[in-house]
């Protein structure tokens, strides 16, 4: 089960017209690529995708899942949308609520365990290791944890005993007791999932806020699987930008060039390789297909089909697809949204990253200094 319904309000305006998992990442990827690639790399071939907020971009993008080898006759990808039923409207009120609405999907496949994932995390993971851990510990629920690079208080914090079982769980605590943060990835024994969701409804709707504390209270054995790899919850513009920059500064984190171990798949564009025309400096840049580069690029991620015209300078930027940066522009610390056209001579320098699109440009007025 992949949860892709969230609005991602903190990513506004990036998510104004699309679900968070459809957000562009690393030039040619979208956030959903990580979870779909992890699934196919873990040989998990039955996937339900729960959608709610602005699902069309995402559904069009995923299609039948062929790009991730998930277009299978048995299983494969199934979109689980909110629906109207005899009992009344089933608009999803939270992550757990959404799963409960689609319990019939789980019943139909009758698996031993259900893994619940979010579509908006940046990480490469073989879920089998986690499922093995889940089986070995005999837990009803296993939660994947990581050690955050920033404040623990942003995350769900877990306190563990010596066997790795969870003692306490606090969502975004001011004074965290534990040292492990939840990745929002859960493996449930199917039976436990059904019982808890049925028992717990309707007062709580969210896995992190409601279900896990309830399960702990009910003395279900909840185990922590400690994930050692790179993990980013890109819930804010800053973290999304930082994760993009990690691709440049630390290619070893996500190893995008590694096609053997946990390769990252994406739906490919139809663009020819990018064309660098003039002999301007290009330093520490990631440049995608279909781009036309005449200017200078420094420490930036450039998505497909972007034009950077003569004497333009792009520094510490993330540029989404289809953007045109005209002659003599100077951009620094800018996150430029798809299809933005920046007029010649525009200079935009921010101290810390800011989002730019045609609307903001309009508000700023032409020739903004």
């Amino acid at each position: 089960m992949v949860l892709v319904g969230g609005r991602g309000t903190r990513l506004d305006p990036i998510t104004r017209r699309q679900a968070k998992p459809a957000v562009v990442f690393g030039g040619k990827y979208r956030l959903i690529d990580f979870v779909l690639s992890n699934l196919t790399n873990s040989q998990i071939d039955t996937v339900g995708i729960l959608t709610q907020y602005e699902p069309h971009t995402l559904m069009h993008y995923i299609e039948h899942g062929a790009s991730w080898d998930l277009d299978l006759i048995d299983g494969g990808i199934q979109f689980l949308t909110p629906y109207t039923a005899y009992e009344g409207d089933q608009w999803q009120k939270g992550t757990a609520h959404a799963i409960r609405q689609h319990m019939h999907f789980i019943n139909q496949h009758d698996p031993e365990n259900v893994i619940i994932l979010s579509g908006d995390h940046v990480y490469k993971m073989d879920y089998n290791a986690m499922i093995e851990d889940h089986k070995a510990s005999g837990a009803a629920i296993t939660i994947a944890t990581f050690t955050p690079h920033d404040a623990l208080s942003r995350y769900g914090v877990l306190e563990l005993d010596s066997d790795g079982f969870i003692q306490s769980f606090e969502e975004k605590p001011k004074h965290p007791k534990g040292t492990h943060a939840s990745m929002g990835i859960y493996v449930f024994k199917s039976d436990a999932l059904k019982t808890i969701l049925n028992d717990n409804m309707p007062e709580g709707f969210d896995f992190g806020k409601d279900i896990i504390p309830k399960a702990l209270k009910d003395a279900y054995p909840v185990h922590a699987y400690q994930f050692e790899g790179y993990f980013r919850d890109v819930g804010t513009i800053e973290s999304l930008y930082e994760a993009n920059m990690d691709l440049i500064d630390h290619p070893e984190y996500l190893r995008l060039n590694d096609y053997k171990h946990l390769p990252l798949f994406t739906k490919s564009s139809n663009y020819p390789p990018h064309h660098v025309m003039l002999n301007e400096p290009i330093n520490n840049a990631l440049i995608s297909d279909g781009c036309l580069i005449e200017g200078t690029i420094e420490r930036s991620v450039i998505s497909p089909n972007v034009a950077v015209r003569e004497k333009a300078v792009v520094k510490n930027c993330v540029i989404e697809p289809g953007v045109t940066i005209n002659e003599n522009c100077y951009l620094e610390n800018v996150y430029v949204l798809a299809d933005t056209v920046i007029m010649p001579g525009t200079q935009i320098i921010y101290d810390s990253v800011q989002v730019l699109d045609n609307d903001t440009l309009w508000a700023l007025g032409d020739g903004h200094e």
Binding site: N257, P273, V276, I282, N283, L286
Partner: protein, 811 residues
Amino acid sequence: MTPCGHWVMAMNNRLLAVIDASAHSAFDKLTLHRLPGALPYAGRYRLIDFALSTLRNASIINVAIFPSGNYRSLQDHVGSGKRWNLDRRRDGLFILPPKNLSMPAEDTLSFMRMHEHIEYFRRSTQEYALVMPADIVWNIDFNAVLTDHIESGAQITEIKHQNTRMQTYIISKKELLEYINSYDVIPYQTLNDVVLKKKPLNYNVYDHQGYSKRIRDASTYHRSNLDMLKFEIGTQIFSTEWPILTKEKTAPPARYMPSSDVMNAMIGSGSLIQGTVHNSIIGRDCVIKEGAEVYNSVLMSNAVIEKSAHLNYTVIDKGVVVKRGTVLEGTTTQPFVTQKEQIITTRSNLSVLFAASEAYPYVKTGGLADVVGGLSRALSKKGVNVKVALPLYPQIKRQYQNTYAFHDSMTFSFDGELRKVNVYWLERKKVGFYFLENFKYFERDHLYGYDDDCKRFAFYNRAVVQLLHIIDPVDIVHAHDWHAGLIPRLLKHHHATPPGSLLTIHNIDYQGACGGEVLDALGLPSNPEGINFLEDGILQSTKLSTVSPTYRNELRYEYFGKNLTPALQRRERDFHGVLNGLPSVFSPATDKVILSPYDAPNAFAKTENKLALQKQMTLPMGIHNFVIGMVSRIAEQKGFDLVIGALSHFLGVYTDVQFVLLGTGDEALMERLKQLEKAYPAQVKLNLGYDATEPNHIYAGADLFLMPSRVEPCGLSQMIAMKYGTIPLVRRTGGLADSVTDFDPLSKEGTGFTFYNYDTDALLERLGDAYHTFKEHKDDWRMLVSRVMKADFSLSTQAQKILELYLSIKS
């Protein structure tokens, strides 16, 4: 118009497409493991993507691909055709390989091969058929072509671009089926034949304005790739509205490091750029290390260019590693081409030892000596340190005793006894020669023809291997023909770290099939069945080559490869065809023998030589007479059956045709030729003696040079004739196919007249075409004369390709 963005529009149920994905030999290494259609292009695509995508953009949903040869890579690329909307319940994508595998497939799709899959044509419901090659780079709207075809009311429409024929046709399926059904009774084998020969034919030309290029060899491949860097061409081919689609791959955006220096380059996904890239195409997942320089080059995927390597005008195949400091230089017409997954290093002193039974100028009985002499010199000009090891025959002793010096002597056991070999040495034009002296085996009047030839050359092989112990180390031993066939095995037997070996097959008819006593003499494990020198060399050498790319392909068939076919098939991956070069001594401008020397700008002076030839041969003199010349050993293999059959018709019909032949050989054939001379005494003159007139008189004096060989591994006469401005008429086999391209009166391309089927009618027809061109299209003929004189058959080109092979052996 059906723009792609609105693909939901109606399927095109009027047009089916046939893609001709036949193999052909002009690419050599690039198409060793793939068909031309599967060649990577522009850093991301394969050539066939242009065909499939333009078909998709025209909403065509019934596509048949006719591959020949190794189509694994093509099949892998197109898959189910989903990418081009071709995975359909009805119609869709069909891959239809040849069914008859006992004969080499022609390089153009014939009606005969279509007939093998006649069901496909019968079952499809479309009214029109589009037949196109898989090797065109373009972005064209086929619906516009179809409309034009229908409006013209023509039987057949061909697409042209600036007078270049794209050999892409639209024809009604009904008419196509008629040709296919009657393939064995009509005089046309392909649609091209129909266009050129069928009269009357309502033929319509559709002129396509946009960029269009057929990719026919390494040079057009290289140039066309770099064309994509021209902004107008690139944006027109890779249009967003009419997209070119290709198989999905997983690769992140390309990464540029601060040390990168890039100008006018297309760079594929997943590449890491740390070095210099100017005016080049870089494929997917390449690594250009810091300090590496890539200029004017085309890199396919996964190439690694190491520090301070320098590339200029190169084509680097998939997975090639160019090591530190390696310098690879090609030219626009002759790019340096690597092989797939090769590791390339150059030390400035690459050192090679030639092992051959003869070498010009020291000892010569046939063409082998010329090749060894010419190639060794051409390689040394390219900076290779070349040495040649020859048996010291009495002929050499007599003539050169005073020029060589004693080098060393060596002793080894052979045939149960210790044998001593004295080694003499001389250097000629920067090529070193070692002469191996042994009285028992080499002191004979002739080179070959003794009962103990097996042992003699086994001894020679053993001596060469011993020689390596007493001379400066060499990187590669280049063995020629069966006389050196056991060297690859002996190298492994007598050297802990043996140098690599290249075996070149000049003549497969002589194989050195020897008894088991040779093995015993060499101290090798005995085998009662004996040993075949050439076969053993084929199996044991690091790489193999033969004298032309087409002959190399033909040798996979038993008709050509004979008993060695299985061995050659086993080594197919390491087997290359390199066309022999022509020494620069063959030039009508410097020829002292002919009456009137001439060069290409003054080719009209050739006429004086023609009159001189007629006079000398006592033929009626006249510049309007059509003089057909032949210089050939008279043997069945050279196609004399056809010559006699065709000429006995032809000379009767056209009394102004004259035939001059110089050669000797098979008695029965010579007798039949004399009959021909008797029947047409005023038109035929034979010169059948050993001490014949200079062949140069014929090369210079004839209009047409006839060479309809049944088998012709390389052939030099056609190249000499061309240098002298004499238009070749050849059968498309072996080196003839690689040196002569068929003249096409519509596009005016080509360098001669060719035919494929070994039968009299096929030859007769081309004789007629040549005659009519000479008589009625004098401008075309003059153009052909000046064109063939400029053809490049240089030793330097051959040496370049052999050098590329050496580099692949060293890695």
